[in-house]
């Protein structure tokens, strides 16, 4: 007999529909899976066989062929176990489930027949809805995240044994509670109040957050660079509901949603030995990288000069476009990655800085080290903050302004930008044409013109100064950029002169 069931395979962040066809007929007993299965799918044979037997079903001693269609698509992961088991039960006549063709199933099976959580349940539930399925059967642990998708019934299944109850109508599953998507970071997380003293660094962080400007901090180890960077998400405006869903979808596809979502904007801090594929995504099948995991949040590159050059080069185009394209012979995937770039570096290889008499770095080594700063990502960085070792008075002093207050100002500045530039956009994304339309007071224009003439700025540096000044003016709530705001912007801007 023949039976079919619907399931999905995860491809990047998207779920692709797969039809499971199971044929059971007389012949030498055997169990074959065809249709480009990867190793995990092929091993479903053993899991399904054991799960059926241990749940009291009979494993048919006949010839079983499972075909996964479309045959051209590579199927990956253990999420097809449940659909194969259900179709097998139906084909062997042990389960009379006329609704099987109208529901979608996804889940991994344990040998005792219980279900195990899978990656990407959120994307799968969405794809099931798009595909017109009435309901989706998922492992109980994935229930809350699948329930985020409205317009489709979610059936949380804890074991294969419950399937017959479901079909017989003996069990009326209730829709699980949807996973709460925290738009804001949980209270008690890292707070900007921990940054004591260092008023300029705080200002740089605030401007970076307000305008979405990328930030480079340079200073000796222990000066508070990492501390400052990890506080940045807490002063960014709360996620919009749509954005939170995007973040959750990425977390789900990477299997990070099971359990609790931390809430708020993601903060990713990859180690500097990361490969290009690890940073922007890649591999076969392509998996999202750190840049995608940092979507709508902060990507922090500590020790920027130690990163592999090819990894940083790979980050350039995604940074500009807000998405990563991974092309493979079979297909091309686009993964979102709109993040804020924050980087930190030491002033020289030993970290002390050449002003320190103990710095033993050879000039050529320092030059090569700093050369890495000016190559790679430098032209994508707007703000440069020199961080100094906090003094004893700073460390012992009063706690700084808490994140909530700063976030209030940042949110107001972002609103002004959206009103001017359109929804979801910020000053850092202004095109050169838009940047040159910024309203400038005459003193501010004079300051900029003087700098332009004196230091032979490039056009790009000129626009960068304008964008920064506009953000500072938005923070101050002034209609035109004043001289003081322009001066602050000129101080914050990254220097491109050697």
């Amino acid at each position: 007999m023949l039976a079919t069931a619907r399931t999905f395979t995860l491809d990047g962040l998207a779920a692709r529909p797969v039809r499971v066809e199971v044929d059971v007929h007389r012949g030498l007993p055997g169990f074959a899976i065809v249709g480009l299965p990867d190793a995990a799918v092929r091993e479903a044979r053993e899991r399904v066989r054991a799960a059926l037997v241990n749940c009291g079903f009979e494993f048919p001693l006949q010839r079983i062929v499972v075909n996964l269609a479309p045959a051209s698509l590579r199927k990956a992961g253990p999420g097809m176990d449940l659909a194969i088991a259900a179709a097998l039960l139906s084909a062997s006549g042990q389960l009379e489930w006329e609704a099987l063709s109208r529901v979608a199933l996804a889940g991994e099976l344990a040998l005792d027949g219980s279900t195990r959580p899978i990656h990407g349940a959120l994307a799968i539930a969405e794809a099931a809805r798009e595909g017109g399925a009435e309901a989706i059967v998922v492992p109980a642990e994935n229930g809350p995240e699948a329930a985020l998708v409205t317009g489709i019934d979610v059936i949380p299944l804890d074991g294969l044994g419950r399937l017959s109850d479901l079909v017989a109508g003996a069990w009326e599953p209730s829709r699980p509670e949807a996973l709460p998507l925290a738009l804001d970071a949980a209270p008690g997380g890292p707070d900007l109040a921990d940054l004591r003293g260092q008023p300029h660094l705080r200002h740089a962080l605030e401007v970076a957050a307000a305008g979405g400007h990328s930030l480079l901090m340079i200073g000796p180890p222990g000066a508070g660079k990492s501390l400052a960077a990890s506080r940045l998400p807490s002063i960014l405006p709360p996620l919009a509901a749509v954005e939170a869903l995007e973040v959750a979808r990425i977390a789900s596809a990477c299997g990070r949603l099971n359990g609790a979502l931390a809430g708020g904007r993601p903060f990713r801090s990859p180690h500097h030995t990361i490969s290009p594929a690890g940073l922007v995504g890649g591999g076969s099948p392509p998996r999202p990288g750190e840049a995608t995991l940092a979507h709508r949040g902060v990507l922090f590159l500590d020790e920027l000069c130690e990163f592999r050059r090819d990894a940083l080069e790979a980050l350039r185009a995604p940074l500009e476009a807000g998405e990563v394209s991974i092309s493979r012979a079979s297909s091309r995937r686009t993964l979102p990655c709109r993040f804020m770039l924050v980087a930190a570096a030491n002033p020289c290889p030993c970290g002390r800085g050449e002003a320190d008499p103990d710095c033993g770095c050879a000039p050529v080594a320092v030059q090569r080290y700093q050369g890495r700063l000016s190559g790679a990502l430098a032209d994508r960085i707007d703000i440069l903050a020199a961080v100094r070792q906090p003094s004893a008075a700073d460390i012992g002093g009063a706690a700084g302004e808490p994140s909530a207050d700063v976030r209030g100002r940042v949110a107001i500045a972002r609103e002004r930008q959206e009103r001017r530039l359109g929804p979801g956009r910020c000053n850092a994304e202004m095109t050169p044409a838009e940047a040159r339309e910024c309203a400038l007071s005459s003193e501010a224009a004079a300051l900029l013109a003087e700098l332009y003439a004196r230091q032979r700025l490039s056009g790009r540096a000129h626009d960068r100064a304008l964008r920064l000044a506009q953000t500072i003016a938005d923070l101050a709530g002034s209609a035109a950029i004043g001289a003081e705001q322009m001066a602050q912007a000129l101080q914050l801007r990254r220097r491109d002169r050697g």
């Binding site: 300029h200 002003a355 300051l447 003081e484």
Partner: protein, 374 residues
């Protein structure tokens, strides 16, 4: 542009030195080739006999075989020009030195050498491993001296040399003296600087085009640098620095010797501080150099600039007292971060401060307007 104003005998000497490179390297041992200026006093025959006795005849034969046409063609191919001690383009300062090079081969603007007398040139030397203070001072000295009409002479090396050249290129004329052929950028990292000096100044050397640098050739080029200029200024150097060779050679020639004072705790300023203790001229700015070379008050460098308002003056004071970051200034003066940032940006625009690409501020040599009271 390629113009050969040197006699073939003097040019052959240059080619001989290039051939002798590895031999002299072996003989001129000791403190990094310090004997090389001594060796270079010798005549061709004696030099070859000392450096390469086994192949002396062979080398001299090869040199004799170089005819005038070949030499000229080599120079033209490398876009070089040449002058020699018997010609008119030869800088006057070199005639004072007993061990002066027979010929100078150059690239760039040959008019820089035309009538160049010691009182028209200043040599700036110093550590390759200079601090940001040393680099900034070298740059400013280079800029101001070149603006005052001086030719700034240096050696194209890392650190102080490069900064002096860069400063001078901004406002005037500069000569780079190399320890290899003038068509070779050494160190290679300074290729673009070498090109700029070729375009806006001149690169000279006693070695023929294509000659490789040897350890001994750097003390040798130092004697040219010392002799070309009326004053040698040491910006920053450790106690055993090659810059001191230049300083000693300059003193031996009776040239003025200047040194830029630095912190007494800084190893990088140890040598200039020692020179000052030994009676060298104190160089705090370009005016000190002009006064020492030409007589006090003969030539004045004018600085415009109106008085600073009190807040800017206070921020400038904080940088002068050793702060280098915006946070440091804010903490010292009790300013808010944005106010300190704005003040620093204004001071940078006015030219009183320089900001490194690491974001650290340092004081430039531009004197603060009078009546600031810091």
């Amino acid at each position: 542009m390629a113009e050969v104003r040197a006699c073939p005998d003097c040019l052959r000497r240059s080619w001989l030195l290039a051939l002798l490179g590895p031999y002299i390297e072996k003989v001129a041992t000791g403190a990094i080739g310090s004997r090389s200026p001594e060796l270079l006093r010798l005549s061709n025959e004696d030099l070859v006999a000392v450096a390469a006795p086994k192949v002396a005849g062979q080398l001299l034969g090869r040199i004799e075989a170089l005819d005038e046409k070949y030499l000229a063609a080599e120079l033209t191919a490398a876009q070089c020009w040449a002058c020699c001690r018997h010609g008119d383009l030869y800088p006057g300062g070199l005639r004072d030195a007993a061990d002066a090079p027979w010929a100078l081969i150059g690239r760039g603007d040959s008019r820089l050498l035309d009538g160049l007398e010691p009182f028209g040139a200043v040599t700036i030397v110093g550590a390759r491993r200079a601090t940001s203070y040393g680099r900034e001072v070298a740059r400013e000295l280079g800029r101001e001296l070149a603006a005052a009409g001086m030719v700034v002479v240096s050696g194209l090396a890392f650190g102080v040399d490069a900064c002096a050249h860069r400063g001078a290129i901004d406002s005037g004329r500069t000569i780079a003296v190399l320890g290899c052929g003038p068509d070779t950028a050494y160190p290679a990292a300074h290729r673009s600087l070498w090109r700029q000096v070729c375009e806006k100044g001149a690169v000279v050397s006693e070695f023929p085009p294509g000659a490789a640098p040897w350890r001994w050739s750097f003390p040798a080029r130092n004697r040219i640098m010392a002799a070309l200029a009326g004053m040698t200024v040491v910006v920053e150097a450790a106690t055993r620095s090659g810059s001191l060779i230049t300083a000693d050679l300059a003193a031996d020639l009776g040239r003025d010797l200047g040194a830029v004072p630095g912190p007494i705790t800084s190893r990088a300023s140890a040598a200039p501080n020692n020179l000052l203790a030994g009676g060298a001229c104190v160089v705090r700015d370009a005016q000190d150099v002009l006064d020492a070379m030409l007589g006090a008050g003969v030539k004045r460098i004018e600085h415009g600039g109106s008085a600073l308002d009190p807040e800017l003056a206070a921020v400038l004071g904080a940088i002068e007292s050793g702060e280098s970051t915006c946070d440091g200034v804010a903490a010292t003066l009790g300013l808010s971060g944005p106010d300190a940032a704005a003040a620093l940006a204004r001071l940078e625009l006015l030219g009183y401060l320089a900001c490194s690409n690491m974001g650290l501020y340092s004081r430039t040599l531009v004197p603060a307007p009078a009546g600031m009271g810091i």
